[in-house]
C-alpha cells in the first residue's frame, strides 16, 4: 500500500510538469500585458516598455520559462508582479478561507446528499422519491450566484441571522468562523448535493436488487441496518468516486461563491490575477490546484480500500 502511494505521488511529477508547461505557454500567447495595467491609463508607451523590461517580460519565452522552472525546483513560486509579495505568501493568506469553505461544503454535502439519496432509493417511485429528485434537478440547475443572492437576502438582510459577507479565521472562535461559512457553503453545496444525491440513489437502487439484500431481509434485519450497513457500504465506491470528481466542481464554484460572499480565498485571487495578468500568481495557483486534484484522486483510491476490503493495491 505504502509503495503504491509513493508511486502515485511520484507519478504526479510528470503531470505537474505538463501542467506547468501548458499554463506557462497559454499565458505567454494570451493577449494582455501586466505592464500596461501597472503603468495606468495615462502612461506613455515608453513607460510601459520600461516596466516590461524591469519585470523581465521582454525576454524570450524559453528564458522566461527556464528561469521559472528553475525557481520552482528550488521551492520558489516567484513574486507577484503587482503586489511585490511572494506568491507562496499570497497563497498562504488565501488558503485558510478556501479550505474552510470547501471542508464545510463537503461535510454539508455528505451529511445531506447521502441520506437523501438513500431515502429516495428506499422509497423509489413514491412522492418522497419524486420530491427529492425534483430538488436535485432544481439544485443542479440553479447558478451558484443566484442561490447566494437569495440566501443573503433572506438570512442576512431580512432575518438578520447571518452576516452577508466576509471570513473569520477559526482561531477567533468556532461560531464566528462557522457563521461566515454557512450561507456560502449552502450556495456552493447545492449543485454538489444534487449530484451526490442522484448518484447515491442510482447506485443504491442497483444494490437493493442484489440477492444478499433479499437474504438480509429474509433473516429479519431492520430497514436501517439493511440500508446503511449492508447496501450503502456496497454502493460506496461510485459515490466516493463522484465525491472526488466533485472536488473540481468545488474549486470552480468557489471562484463565484467567494466573490458573492466577499471571502478572501484562492478563487478570488485567481480571478484577480487573471484579470491583471499577474503571471506568477496564476501559475502558482494552477500548479497548486492541479497538485490538490491529483492528491484528491489518490485519497479516493485509498478510500476504496476502506469501503471495500476486496480492493488491494
Amino acid at each position: 500500500m505504502l509503495s503504491y502511494i509513493l508511486r502515485r505521488i511520484a507519478s504526479t511529477l510528470p503531470v505537474m510538469a505538463i501542467v506547468a508547461l501548458f499554463v506557462f505557454s497559454l499565458l505567454y500567447i494570451a493577449p494582455g500585458d501586466p505592464a500596461v495595467v501597472i503603468a495606468g491609463d495615462q502612461a506613455s508607451p515608453e513607460d510601459v516598455e520600461r516596466i516590461r523590461q524591469s519585470l523581465g517580460l521582454d525576454r524570450p519565452f524559453l528564458i522566461q520559462f527556464g528561469s521559472w522552472v528553475w525557481r520552482i525546483l528550488h521551492g520558489d513560486l516567484g513574486t507577484s508582479i503587482f503586489t511585490n509579495l511572494p506568491v507562496s505568501t499570497m497563497i498562504g493568506q488565501r488558503l485558510g478561507p478556501t479550505l474552510s469553505l470547501m471542508m464545510v461544503t463537503l461535510l454539508l454535502t455528505i451529511v445531506v446528499a447521502v441520506p437523501l439519496g438513500v431515502l429516495a432509493a428506499w422509497k423509489a417511485g413514491s412522492l418522497i422519491d419524486r420530491a427529492i429528485m425534483a430538488f436535485a434537478v432544481f439544485g443542479f440547475s440553479l447558478p451558484v450566484f443566484v442561490v447566494g443572492y437569495v440566501l443573503a437576502y433572506v438570512f442576512a438582510l431580512e432575518l438578520e441571522w447571518l452576516p452577508v459577507q466576509g471570513y473569520t479565521p477559526l482561531a477567533q472562535g468556532f461560531w464566528p468562523w462557522l457563521q461566515n461559512l454557512i450561507l456560502p457553503a449552502i450556495a456552493l453545496g447545492c449543485v454538489y448535493i444534487a449530484l451526490i444525491a442522484r448518484i447515491t440513489r442510482a447506485t443504491m437502487l442497483e444494490v437493493l436488487q442484489q440477492d444478499y439484500i433479499r437474504t438480509a431481509r429474509a433473516k429479519g434485519l431492520g430497514q436501517g441496518g439493511i440500508l446503511f450497513v449492508h447496501a450503502l457500504k456496497n454502493a460506496a465506491v461510485p459515490i466516493v468516486t463522484v465525491i472526488g470528481i466533485g472536488i473540481a466542481l468545488l474549486i470552480g464554484g468557489a471562484v463565484v461563491t467567494e466573490s458573492v460572499f466577499a471571502i478572501p480565498g484562492l478563487g478570488r485571487l485567481t480571478i484577480d490575477a487573471i484579470l491583471r495578468r499577474d503571471y506568477p500568481v496564476i501559475q502558482g495557483i494552477v500548479l497548486l490546484f492541479s497538485f490538490v486534484y491529483v492528491l484528491v484522486n489518490l485519497m479516493i483510491d485509498v478510500t476504496y480500500t476502506l469501503v471495500d476490503p476486496r480492493i488491494r493495491y
Partner: protein
Amino acid sequence: MDRRTVLKGLAGAGGLALSGISAPAIAQGASARTLRFVPQANLANFDPIWGTQYVVRNAAALVWDTLYGVDSSLQPQRQMVESEEVTDDGTTWTFKLRTGLKFHDGEPVLSKDVVASLTRWAARDPMGLMLKALQQELTAVDDRTFKWVLKQPFPKMLYALGKNNSPCAFIMPERIAQTDPFKQIGDYVGSGPMKFAKGEWVPGAKAVFEKFADYVPRQEKSSWLAGGKQMLLDRVEWIVMPDPATAAAALQNGEIDWWENPIADLVPVLKKNKNISVDIGDPLGNVGSFRMNFLYPPFNDVRARRAVLMAMSQEDYMRALVGDDTSLWKPLPGFFTPDTPLYTEAGGEVLKGKRDLDAAKKLLAESGYSGQPVTCLVAQDQPITKAFGDVTADLLKKLGMNVDFVATDWGTVGSRRAQKTPPGQGGWNMFHTWHAGSDCINPAPYTAIRANGDKAWFGWPNSPGTEKEVTSWFEAKNLDEEKAAVARLNKVALEDVVYAPTGFFLSYTAWRKNVSGITKGPLPFFWGVSKSA
C-alpha cells in the same frame, strides 16, 4: 496500512488544516473609531509612483503627505511647506519645510528626503517630466530648505507639486525614494496622517490604515488635499468587494460603513434605506471618450472622424451608461470638466443639436471610406466601456460602416491599443475609455488631449494647432490668459477630432448615517470623518 491508520491520517490532516492556518480577519466587530470602507477597486500594489491607478493614489493620500495640496477651488495650498520664494526671473524656487514633520518610523522629514522623492516622481509624472527637462539643479540647502533651479520659468510649479492627479508628488524617506521609479517599493514608511499596516494587507481583500499619532496637521480647515488633515478615526479598514450586490447588502446590514462607488442600478435600493445617505461622490465626475486611430484609414482622414462626431448622440451614450437618472450626466460639447474655471464650449457646435446622419454619411463618403472593416475594441468587463461600445457599434452601422466588433476584456484592450500595426494585423481603429474629471480641468494632467503624433496617447492624434494651444496654456500668466488658451485649444481639438467625448457623467457614494464628515471630492478624504456607535 489498515483502515484505522488511514482514518487517523485523514482526521489529522483535516485538523491541521483547520487549526494551523492564520488568515485575515475580514469580519470584525465594529467600533466607533474604526471605519470600514469599500474602495472602488482592489489595492493590488502600494507604490503611488510605480502604479498610477486611482485606487493606489487614494490609499497613498492617507499614508504620504505632499508639499502642496489642491483644494476644492482647484488652487494649490501649502501643505508640508511653510514658505516658498521664487526669483523675479521665475527660474529659482526655494522652499522651506514646516517644523515638526515626521515619518512613520519617527525620523524627521528632511530636505534630502524631499529631493529624492521629487526626483523619483519627476521621472514618471507628465508635469514632473516637463520640470525635469527644464531642471538645472534640485538640491537640499539645509535640513529644512531645498532649491529647484530651472533653465526657464515654469509658472505651474505649485500646481504640479500639489495636484491630485496620479502620480502625486508624495514625500517618502530618501532610502525609499531612491528606488528606481520603474521598480516597486516594498517599504511603506509614510509622512501622512495614517500608517499602512503592512502585516494586515491581503491584496485583493483588505488593507488597513492606522492613525499616526505624531502627524502634525496644519491649522487651517481641511479642503481636499489641503489644510488640516485631522484624523478622528483610529483605524480605517479597506474591504475589497468585487460584487456590487454584496457591497450593497453589507452596507444595508451595517457590516460596512462607507461604499465609495455604488453602481447606479443599486442606488434606488440604498436611497430607500433610512440608515444610509447617498450623494454624488466626486463633483468633477468623469469624461467619457472613444478614440480613433490616426494612423490608418478610415480615421486617418479628418473627414471620417468629423463624420462620426456629427452623427454621435451623447445622450445615447449617457443613457446607456446611467439609465434615466438625468442628474448623473450632462452633455459635454468640449473636452474640459464642466463647472471648473477653464470649462469652455468653444467650437462645440458639432456636438450640439439634432444629429445629422445624412450629412455625416456624405462627409464619410468624401473621406474615401469604401466599406473596409472598422476594428472597434470593446472591453466587456467594464460597465462603462461595454455601454459605450454598444452605442458606438450601432452608430457606425447607421453610418454604413463595416464594424469589426472585438468584444474582449480590459486587460486585452490595454495592451492591444498600444499596437501601432494595421487593424488587420493586431492593431485597431477605435477603442473606448473614460477620464476622471479631475484629469480634465486643465491641459497639465490631461494626457488624452495631447496631439503630438507619435508621442501622443493611444490613437496618436497629430494636431499641431492643439499642441500650440497646450503650450499657450502652460505659458499663460493669469486666469484670463489660461481661459483664452483653453478656448482655442477646445476649438481646434474638436475640429481635428483629437478624440470623441461621449459626455460628462457623475457617480454616487453611499455611507451609513452614523458616519459624518464625508466631503465630495475627486478622491475619498478620511480626515474630518468620524463615526458614532
